[in-house]
Symmetry: C2
Subunit: 150 residues, 2 copies
DNA sequence: AGTCATGTAACTTATTCTATTACGTATCAT
DNA sequence: ATGATACGTAATAGAATAAGTTACATGACT
């Protein structure tokens, strides 16, 4: 199955933006993520619409954080990306009238709904500043052998 | 993202097999699931290897339950299918050396691992006989307006 | 005016689940 | 024995979709 990696990538970008003075262009972000600037704009558009980043055109333009990391949770980013489907396992709906299928799907839906609720509430509890703090920790633990921060 | 519907389909089939005298051919199962007999054999192969069903060749052959529904949990079926990936959201690994990426991925992995654990333990608690019981309930509730059981 | 940067539609590519084809093997009925 | 039935499986094709690319428009700064 193909994974949607936008959440991971956007978190990565947002934290880099926080550690960066001024704005960053889509081109630079694209290089950072090994992807294409158009993909960056497309994905960041959701974050902009939700008010977490701002984009400016022209000289000196690019992307800049519109809110502090403390005020952005994983859930916020997930929702800004359009609440993409979380599960790779789905229910079959070939025979919606079949009571066996209904029972099977009810059991599966119950389980997946509960897991999704758990994930979402966990996402709500973690802010980007939490992740940034974890980064600082890792950074301090590796001062003798610096790692890339791209 | 594309959903893996094998779990849902196999549960559906197993319960029908329990309510069916004798064996069922891959052709019949395929019609039941709106799919192809080769797909059925391929998917059921996992269940056979795990000992939940048996397959017989030749006249009168086909598939038959090898164990009672009480002894098959959702987790058993999931594992028999090869423990397919559960989440449609994944982490980016473009820069494994980047500490920011590491922190982001650690946060996401924590959350997804916890959700997966929860799902698996829930799967372990539900047996196919539980689902069959739910089916019986739905069936009784609809005697005045029979529904398809295909 | 010219350059830089985003906005977005349209199209292509890559990946992967599903479906199909083709052929092999085992079993049963006659 | 022999033909029909049914599974086993490799190889290939199809379909859905996330990601990548091209092309062009719009806005902003110098």
């Amino acid at each position: 199955m193909r994974h949607d990696s936008r959440l991971s990538r956007m978190l990565h970008v947002l934290i880099h933006m926080d550690r960066h003075d001024g704005s960053i262009t889509s081109d630079n972000i694209a290089k950072m993520l090994n992807t294409n600037p158009v993909v960056v704009r497309r994905t960041m558009a959701g974050l902009r619409n939700a008010g977490y980043v701002r984009s400016d055109k022209g000289h000196g333009g690019g992307w800049i954080l519109a809110r502090p990391l403390e005020e952005i949770s994983l859930l916020d980013v997930h929702q800004a990306l359009g609440r993409p489907e979380m599960f790779a396992i789905g229910i079959a709906i070939d025979h919606p009238d079949c009571l066996v299928e209904q029972s099977v799907n009810a059991a599966l839906t119950d389980a997946f709904d509960a897991a999704e609720q758990m994930l979402l509430s966990r996402f709500a509890e973690v802010t980007l500043s939490d992740i940034a703090r974890d980064f600082d920790l890792r950074f301090r633990n590796l001062t003798e052998r610096p790692a890339r921060t791209v």
